[in-house]
């Protein structure tokens, strides 16, 4: 479309200025103040970063985030994939999809309340009102205080909440990709006598690989930034701290802006590979266009 030289700038100027003010400038500024002390008055070099990589609580939060990546990402993608492929064969597809997708619509805070109630714990002498402990007591097992069973069980309990929320996302994207596979290919394989598992491994999975990659990177980004679930359910107590929660605490509880900024920068560095992948993918897509 032909325009004069000024018109395009009028259209993008509001957007570009807001982006600069709220994203570009503050990000650069955060990198800058991560080299300064708590009040940003004194230059202290890499001291904040040194703190992040030596302090035990920080190391715990890195470990927990790693656990989130290792458990959450495969679980969401795997369940999402299984449901996407299986559900195509039943008549009540859309209803089940809605059910699994629904947690995406509600807040992590709401989900936190829902699941805190699932994990609710009372001493063994009283009736259990949390469904998990009630289930244990029907099998004559002792109730467990799920959210304070450090460090593995409580972290896994939080991760399950995340899985409950995000699997729907994976399912929707993977299902669209699955439905894009030409049915003739699958039929031809069936006629040739291949069983369903073989078809899944040899045809469906390779064809869906690019989408699985996209979904996985999205999940990794989500998991690195996870904050709300932990904030609501344990507030990082009992060894459940994650990077984003540490950043929030350094910022608001301890008023140490230098350390908080350093944590944010580390988070960014962990996410940068995903940014690079995104830009590459965008370029490829532009090349096709």
């Amino acid at each position: 479309m032909r325009t004069n030289k000024i018109t395009p700038w009028l259209y993008i100027l509001p957007a570009v200025s807001i982006l600069f003010f709220f994203l570009v400038y503050p990000s650069l500024k955060t990198i800058y103040i991560s080299f300064f002390n708590y009040s940003s008055e004194e230059f202290i070099g890499l001291e904040n970063f040194l703190y992040c990589f030596t302090n035990q609580v920080m190391l715990n939060s890195f470990r927990n985030n790693a656990l989130w990546v290792v458990v959450f990402v495969p679980l969401t993608v795997f369940i999402g994939l299984i449901v996407a492929v299986l559900i195509d064969r039943v008549k009540y597809e859309s209803m089940v999809k809605s059910i699994i997708f629904m947690p995406m619509a509600i807040s992590f805070v709401g989900a936190g309340v829902i699941w805190k109630f699932v994990y609710a714990y009372r001493p063994a002498t009283t009736a259990q009102t949390g469904i998990l402990n009630a289930l244990l007591s029907t099998f004559k097992l002792k109730p467990l205080p799920w959210l304070i069973m450090r460090p593995w069980l409580n972290n896994l309990c939080l991760i399950i909440v995340g899985v409950w929320i995000w699997t729907g996302f994976c399912m929707v994207v993977l299902s669209a990709s699955y439905k894009g596979i030409p049915r003739e290919i699958l039929e031809a394989a069936r006629v040739d006598g291949a069983n369903e598992f073989r078809i899944f491994w040899k045809i469906i999975l390779p064809l869906m690989k690019p989408t699985i990659a996209v979904v996985s990177t999205t999940m990794i980004i989500n998991v690195l930034k996870v904050f709300d679930i932990v904030y609501v359910m344990t507030n990082g107590n009992f060894n459940t701290e994650v990077i984003a929660n540490r950043m929030y605490k350094e910022m608001f509880l301890f008023r140490n802006y230098g350390r908080a900024s350093a944590i944010a920068v580390i988070l960014l560095v962990l996410i940068i590979p995903m940014i690079v992948i995104n830009i590459q993918r965008f370029r490829e897509q532009e090349a096709i266009r």
């Binding site: 957007a15 807001i18 709220f22 994203l23 990000s27 089940v96 509600i106 805070v109 994207v173 904050f227």
Partner: protein, 286 residues
């Protein structure tokens, strides 16, 4: 005939797996919903599933929890705050983004590619990177703890995705549209207003529901820029405070949580199609 029955039999495990997954997924929410209508004595004495022992005994239900959280515990106020935060925080970025997406898609200008790649990068910059500098500026300008401050913060955080999704849609419109309109003497603004916007309604619906849900459900941004003062705090902030102070009063927590989930669920069930389209446009292509 025989082949068909074998097929049906082999589908049984399939049905079982799917129904089991769906059951597991819906169960926690059912517990929340039922508990929010039970009396505090009942909630303390027995699990929510015990109501199925007498499924038609409707006398055990009460609206008292909702009355209490809405009027006494401030969830009613928090609901209104959330609305006052969410509506402008949805309209402002979409308005600004539709102009930008149109220019990126159909106008030539130096730096177009650079700005767009920057935008793609900004899609995933963690917003933690921006909190401290913006909070400081907000404090200086007196915008911390005010609605306009958070409107523009949400506009900033939402813009990359909204522009990106709208760009994907608008750049896919047929180019003849723009050529022939230009020949007919229509200005870029007339083309934008009379053709591009009406044709983009499905995409606009997608980004609206996206941004609306994102802002409605946001905790971190509100926590940082608004703080916990009751006259501005949204539902997410108020409820997470309740979890701390009313930790064992499940009938109140569940009622408050349901108040916060009600509108998103209605929107979701009504506009699921657009929500899914938005997700697909943002992730498969992106």
């Amino acid at each position: 005939m025989k082949g068909k029955s074998i097929l049906k039999f082999s589908l049984l495990p399939l049905h079982l797996i799917i129904i089991l997954i769906a059951f597991l997924w819906v169960l926690p929410s059912v517990g929340l919903f039922i508990t929010s209508f039970r009396t505090s004595a009942d909630v303390a004495a027995s699990g929510w599933w015990t109501i199925f022992e007498h499924p038609f005994n409707f006398t055990v239900y009460t609206l008292a929890n909702y009355r209490e959280v809405i009027t006494k515990i401030g969830i009613g106020r928090a609901f209104l705050n959330t609305l006052f935060i969410t509506i402008p925080s949805t309209i402002i970025p979409i308005l600004i983004a539709s102009f930008a997406a149109y220019a990126f898609a159909w106008m030539e200008f130096p730096g177009r590619r650079f700005f767009f790649i920057l935008l793609v990068a900004l899609l995933i910059v963690p917003l933690q990177m921006t909190l401290i500098p913006i909070l400081r500026i907000f404090n200086q300008l007196g915008l911390a703890g005010t609605l306009p401050g958070i409107w523009f913060a949400h506009a900033g955080y939402g813009l990359p995705l909204v522009i990106y999704l709208l760009y994907n849609f608008i750049s896919g419109l047929p180019s003849e549209l723009f050529d022939s309109s230009s020949i007919d003497g229509a200005t870029p603004f007339q083309i934008f207003f009379k053709m591009v916007l009406p044709l983009s309604l499905p995409a606009l619906a997608s980004v609206t529901i996206f941004q609306f849900l994102w802002v409605w459900n946001d905790l971190l941004v509100a926590l940082v820029y608004l703080g916990g003062t009751p006259d501005v705090a949204p539902l997410t902030v108020s409820i997470s405070a309740l979890v701390g102070s009313y930790g064992q009063d499940w009938e109140l927590l569940t009622a408050a949580a349901f108040v916060s989930m009600f509108l998103p669920l209605v929107l979701f069930l009504g506009l699921q199609r657009y929500f899914v389209k938005g997700i697909l446009a943002g992730s498969v292509k992106g």
